[in-house]
């Protein structure tokens, strides 16, 4: 399938240094309506002014707990929900201005967590995979579908005419991957795509994803709650908390030293895998707060054991942490003279 590679070269407009996605100040609030008149009674701050970039050919891992906005971010990027505010620049073209949403959709595809709900039960898997290419008027959708099914490890002669309920979870997720690839995307968003699979099957799918990335020159956004998996697949990791980015950076840097206390808590909540050194203290108490009324200042201050007055009054900015210019964190402790007692008092060179 080298034809896709050639196509890819032609599609790379901005050059290798131009990020594939440049998201600026994305905002999405969902109103909660209730009562007889359907009046707005509260607002869910699902995504609250986040900025990040996705570089060409990389895998960006997004981690965070429920309500942190990682799935909303994915749906914003793919245009399934409308932005309230902010801009998305796709390979140098602002979506909505230089590039229509429809145009961008051809280049961004998504694989969902629930392999069953993401396939139409009334269509054979070949029809499901061929649907997108048919809509886009690509040549010979059925053949394309069969090629891709074969590529993800499902013999089209044996599996092509089956219905989703006749497949196992791992097989269905392969179909979903084939469907995403059928559109020849440049970016594939994997939203907890392997989370529902058994561990032994998950490893197979991860291997497959790695092969496909190389073969088709893809860029991945990999959303997951499993830090082991994220470490394995990602080049860079972005940590979200209550609709905001708290830390982002190269995977080695973050796994070696977490700049934000929330990231540190997430890491110490990981199973130790060592029966002699079991976790003795939970890193955090209680559940993540509700994104309906997020706390003021730093949103993590209600659960942070280093919280001081400054944390509840001022919102920390994402700033470079340490020597790696790529490693950013939003914490007052990391900003010199921020007013936090643990903040560095020396100015960075």
């Amino acid at each position: 399938m080298s034809r896709i590679d050639q196509q890819l070269d032609g599609r790379d407009r901005g050059g290798p240094a131009q990020p594939l996605i440049l998201a600026q100040d994305l905002k999405k609030h969902f109103p909660i309506r209730s009562g007889l008149l359907n009046r707005k009674t509260a607002t869910v701050h699902a995504v609250d002014g986040i900025s990040f970039e996705v570089r060409k050919g990389e895998t960006l891992g997004i981690v965070g707990e429920s309500g942190c906005g990682k799935s909303t971010t994915a749906r914003l990027l793919i245009g399934l929900i409308e932005l309230d505010d902010g801009t998305i620049v796709f390979d140098g073209d602002a979506v909505g201005a230089d590039l229509s949403l429809k145009e961008m959709r051809k280049s961004v595809q998504m694989v969902f967590q629930d392999s069953y709900a993401s396939l139409n039960p009334r269509l054979t898997i070949e029809e499901s995979v061929a649907f997108g290419p048919g809509v886009q008027g690509l040549s010979d959708p059925p053949k394309r579908a069969r090629d891709l099914l074969a590529r993800v490890g499902l013999d089209p002669d044996r599996f092509g005419q089956r219905y989703p309920h006749e497949l196992s979870g791992g097989q269905r997720q392969r179909v979903n991957i084939a469907r995403a690839l059928a559109m020849s995307p440049r970016l594939v968003i994997l939203d907890e795509a392997v989370s529902a699979l058994d561990k032994s099957v998950e490893a197979q799918v991860l291997n497959l994803l790695a092969d496909l990335k190389e073969e088709f020159g893809l860029t991945y956004i990999f959303i997951s709650h499993d830090l082991n998996v994220v470490r394995f697949v990602s080049d860079r990791v972005m940590v979200m908390y209550l609709g905001e980015v708290v830390e982002v950076g190269p995977v080695e840097a973050i796994y070696a030293r977490q700049a934000h206390p929330y990231t540190a808590s997430l890491f110490s909540a990981m199973p130790s895998m060592d029966p002699d050194n079991r976790t003795l203290e939970p890193p955090l108490a209680g559940d993540p707060p509700n994104p309906v009324n997020p706390p003021s200042g730093c949103r993590f201050h209600t659960r942070c054991r280093f919280a001081e007055d400054i944390c509840s009054t001022a919102k920390p900015r994402l700033d470079v942490f340490g020597s790696n210019r790529d490693h950013l964190a939003a914490c007052h402790m990391r900003v010199p003279f921020s007013g936090h007692s643990l903040a560095d008092v020396e100015t960075s060179p």
């Binding site: 959709r105 009334r122 809509v135 490890g153």
Partner: protein, 295 residues
């Protein structure tokens, strides 16, 4: 390099290949009650369609002498009615009208209601509010009352009965179609289709209708018995089919004077209504469980 993933996961045995509808048929055939009901209904429908070829007596021709003969009378196996007309012929010809008035409004309402419901459910927002609130207004009246009111306003007659019953059944079907559509719309495969750039019309045609029509169809079949009984009710009240047309509800009405003289004869149209609606309901239940594909 991809050998490991290529050979993966091909051990799960799936018996033989079969499509969705053939598995529905297979499951349906395993349910003896539903199959029995389908056979009875088929017999009733065939008898109604081919009534003129069945060598029956004239259902309109009465006789003052042979009034209210009991069951098993020579030449009149099911006796005669209060005007001396052959009951067997009248019941079979009556089936024509009754089934017609029972089915046609539901079929019409099925198309109109599904269109409205799918539109409301898929579009959401203002369109949904508009359609569903209008539907709710109709829904607020008991169906019998609504049918009587509309038929009363339009006047008696077959066409008017069809119109009024269709109007009665649009709201419930719209509601079911709307709720099924909304739940389908929330599923990931609809999002995946949107992400592939498909327009609303294509998504509804390929991904929504196939998953909505089944449940709505099953619901509509359960309404046919209600519709038949309502139609019979309208005729009984004199605002439906007019005499001397043979129709089960109307026959029940005209025969009610004979209830003390020959109760068996007077009960016959009622028994027919009972059997037909019972069969329709059981058939609908059978379809429901046969179409319920869960893994």
């Amino acid at each position: 390099m991809a050998n490991i993933s290529l050979g993966a996961e091909v051990v799960m045995p799936v018996e033989q290949r079969r499509g969705y509808w053939s598995s529905v048929v297979r499951r349906f055939l395993r349910n003896p009650v539903a199959v029995g009901c389908a056979v009875v209904l088929l017999a009733l429908i065939l008898a109604a369609i081919f009534a003129p070829y069945l060598d029956l007596a004239d259902p309109y021709k009465g006789s003052m002498i042979k009034r209210l003969r009991p069951l098993g009378t020579d030449g009149f196996p099911l006796g005669t009615d209060e005007q001396g007309r052959d009951m067997l012929a009248r019941l079979i010809y009556g089936g024509r009208l009754t089934l017609y008035i029972g089915l046609v409004p539901v079929v019409l309402a099925f198309f109109i209601g599904t269109a409205l419901g799918v539109t409301a459910g898929y579009a959401g927002g203002f369109v949904n509010t508009l359609i569903m609130r209008v539907v709710d207004i109709f829904f607020a009246f008991p169906s019998v009352l609504l049918a009587i009111a509309i038929s009363g306003a339009l006047g008696a007659g077959i066409i008017n009965s069809l119109v009024s019953l269709t109007i009665v059944f649009i709201p419930p079907i719209t509601r079911v179609a709307e709720s099924v559509t909304s739940s389908v719309r929330a599923l990931d495969y609809v999002d995946a289709a949107r992400a592939s750039g498909a327009g609303a019309f294509t998504i509804v045609r390929v991904h929504v209708l196939g998953n909505v029509l089944g449940p709505v169809f099953v619901y509509a079949t359960s309404l046919t018995s209600v519709c038949m009984i309502l139609a019979a009710g309208l005729s009984f009240l004199g605002i439906g089919v007019k005499p001397p047309e043979p129709e089960w509800g109307l026959m029940l009405n005209t025969l009610r004077t004979a209830i003390y003289i020959n109760p068996m004869i007077a009960a016959l149209p009622g028994i027919m209504i009972f059997i037909t609606s019972l069969c329709l309901n059981l058939l609908s239940d059978g379809l429901r469980s046969a179409m319920n594909v869960k893994d």
